[in-house]
Symmetry: C4
Subunit: 307 residues, 4 copies
């Protein structure tokens, strides 16, 4: 939907994914966890299957399906689930924007189904399949965004080009991640780019449909085009700060959990801080001993924090 | 040939190669086989040479040669094996489309000859030469597709740009494959892209020469251009599903072969399934023991299935 | 500032960074030093913290902050720290060039703060964070340079395209450096490109605002555009020579330092020369013994040279 | 020089380099030689220095210097060593084409000087410096070719775009070669591309200045543009065949040399053939024993063949 709400809703979706990723990868880095390409076998059975259903997958399906529904049937009374206009001679195509959006959202929903299937239903988690599904979803988004820009005004094109750039960079990072799934730099680059896509879509909704001055941005004014890029650069800084904040928050939450174990608070915070820095670096090879210790700490944290 | 049949025939050719690749690489992944860069010595002699002739190479030669013939002499009575028009002053070039197609098809036929020469005639198979030949063929196709698009209508260009994109991605994958010939992700990416090229050429033939509404797609209608990209995205999903179906089919066929060996059916299917998953992952390093076991299983399968 | 001084000052800044890098990396190569991703712990305390403040970081902050100030308040009496023009109806954006420049400079200043924070304040240096900060600064510069070029004359665009090319290559090198921080080729490529950016900005200032003939370069003259590229190619040669000169200078300075230790001068120079060549190659793996020897030599050099 | 001879002469230069590379790398592959990044020390002295001067370096200097001279002073009587036209008001630039060509040729001549300096004069060969010099020369060529195309006719642009494509691919291969100097695929790709550049420049001279029909190719004829790409594709095939011929020739010459050692001819040819194939593959890791054997064989070959 080329409307205000049609840009706000995917913006919120991408932003929520970005924040979810930020927490997830911060936790993984701080605990020294790794993605296991070949996970151990799991219990069969409907109950244990339900328990394993990942939040990420459910979010993708819910967002994707709702968005597809909205494209076709929102606002209420509208019915756009048709490709050909049968009333006109030559049966011309109609609703091209809606069908492109539906295609995008469907791929994300599909990626959600793959996540659930792999993490909950299969005897072993197939991380590679999940990774391929989300990568294809972003490539499809990039391709459709590119063909989305024909015959629009310059300000709108400028806004969408920057979105396309972000999306394409996500594609590149995801492609490289298929071969380097445990690279910390790639994890956080991806997170930051997805968050930027989210906040930029939110801003784009206001630029294109609800400008603060009440008047639409003129396309023939060069200053407008230059400020679009400028605002985008500020979004990047904003999202890096947000990412750092989430990382610190996760660190403090982890350290609070370990403090409950009874050691003196001040001592522990200092230790935890240097511990974060050591882990956050992500480049030095972890010793065998370190891994064992990390696993032990993790178990204890889990027992204390009850999650 | 810029005709209906001129798009249908290469479409079928690419699709058949894609399906052949799908079966070949599925089998190789499920059996844990690898491409050997330096194969062991083989028996000389005309008979053993004939036995080793690969289906892929023969297909490339037959398709390529037929297509070259068709460009020059089809429909019957036509003779286009000339470059200069000697009747006009200045001897202008004629049949540029035909000569470009002939160049493309010749490189694929050449790649077929290299396949046969390397796999059947030489004392040792030179996998690298086969790989270089097919890579060059796709690069030449990309280059000619690019220069093919001057002065055509927008719908036709849009269709060909997407074909060029697919072809270029195949080139990239093949280039990387020269240094990583046993990467499972690259194998299936290549397969899926070649299949997409095939089905997209089939669809393109209908869009450009036999539209379902009976009227040609107007180039000045933005909706048409947007739906071209949209249809292409659906082709990708379609081909991924087709690829998964072929992979599962190969898996079931392999498990049926092993069931004949006399074990209880249900037990075996389960084992086979987890065995597929383990193999399909393609990332975990295979232990020495696993390799020996795989080789043994393979020999037994070959004895039972007789192929 | 789209003025003479607005191109001279960043030019001098980039040139000074390039020369700083040239000395720094020459020293590191000649001494066989490596960047340590995970540095050892350091003393806390305000004094030792102040001692560790890096020149590079201070330079970035000073240059960046001064440039931001100049954009808003130079020449004296000007006040440009406003985005909206509140006097006109529709509140149009004003000063787009200034705000884009400010964004660029701020990212470089930010990178300087990260350098100081990481090298001086933290208990352990986080090289990765410094590297990410400067990489983002160059990416932002490239993005803003790209959107800077709308609606300008061809000569100006030509000059800026070459600047953008250099900047983009710096981005690529910095991106690869995140995973290969000790690659000698990348170090010197980066240095040379940053120096080229500097001298090219200096030249650009003269081309655009103070042409030597006194008349502005005409955009419709093809010869002008061709000479812009030509001059750029000469800048590259010039900067390579400058880089080699700095490398030799550093080598002679190092050899003078070791000569003071009392060995015969001629003998030592020869040894030092072949020693430089051996080290400069940067490809042969250094033996364990070589490393120990290098560390020892370094300590002795430091004692003699007192720096 | 935008003339017939101005395209023929660089064409012959590139072709001769390509053929030189073809022989050089064929020999290296067949003998299992490798490029040594850190060569052993060599004898000093003027005589031994002169002996080591490489043919490649001398060729680059001679070709480059002659071409620079020709740009400025050919045909005799012409004097173009001026940038500003002092007779016109505003001192406009003149001879932009000549100065761009001079810049290109100078970089190649410079690369020749670096070759000689590194291979003959220095105590140790610095392969990395030679490699960087030639890489920069090709990047400069690509940059100047790109800016060379403004305001020319479409046929000329089409011819130059294909030249630029070849040149850019050489740049890419040379860049990757800096980190993988012993990759056989890269060696032969580079060789083939340089040869293609040569033969294509020769063909371009005829297309642009001496068309076989006597009439210049019309730019508004689409068939002409399509045939330009078509001819280029045939050049690639031609050069691959030429490369294979040179490789086989080198193989037979090597086998003839070893036959002189007195073994039965037929037996030896067979052995040599399978030996070539084994070596040509370039992927299988060579055993320590193989290396020793290769070094021994090489010494014997050198004693017999006297070169």
């Amino acid at each position: 939907m080329g409307t205000f709400i049609g840009h706000i809703s995917p913006g919120l979706a991408f932003l929520s994914f970005g924040i979810l990723y930020a927490f997830k990868f911060s936790l993984m880095v701080l605990r020294g966890e790794k993605i296991q390409l070949l996970s151990p076998s799991r219990k069969f059975g409907f109950k244990s299957c339900l328990k394993r259903i990942p939040a990420e997958g459910v979010m993708k399906i819910v967002y994707g399906t709702l968005a597809v529904m909205a494209e076709f049937f929102y606002p209420p009374g509208v019915y756009k689930l048709i490709i050909y206009n049968k009333e006109k001679p030559g049966y011309p195509f109609i609703h091209p924007n809606e069908w492109q959006h539906v295609t995008m959202y469907s791929y994300f929903a599909l990626s959600g189904w793959v996540d659930i299937f792999s993490q909950a239903c299969l005897p072993k988690r197939l991380f590679l399949f999940e990774s391929i599904a989300i990568t294809i979803a972003f490539y499809i988004e990039a391709l459709l965004l590119y063909s989305h820009m024909h015959g629009k005004e310059e300000v709108e094109n400028s806004v969408h080009t920057l979105l396309l750039l972000t999306c394409f960079l996500v594609c590149l990072v995801l492609t490289v991640e298929m071969w380097r799934p445990n690279d910390h730099i790639l994890w956080f680059t991806k997170t930051c780019l997805v968050m930027t896509q989210g906040t930029w879509l939110l801003h784009a909704a206001f630029i294109l449909y609800k400008p603060f001055t009440g008047k639409p941005w003129k396309s023939n004014d060069m200053a407008n085009l230059m400020f679009v890029t400028n605002f985008f650069c500020w979004h990047i800084a904003l999202n890096i700060i947000l990412l750092l904040a989430i990382f610190s928050l996760t660190g403090f939450w982890l350290s609070r959990c370990s403090r409950r174990r009874g050691s003196s608070a001040l001592q522990d915070t200092k230790e935890m801080f240097s511990f974060h820095l050591k882990r956050a670096d992500g480049a030095g090879p972890q010793s065998e001993y370190g891994k064992l210790q990390a696993a032990e700490e993790e178990t204890q944290l889990l027992q204390v924090c009850d999650f």
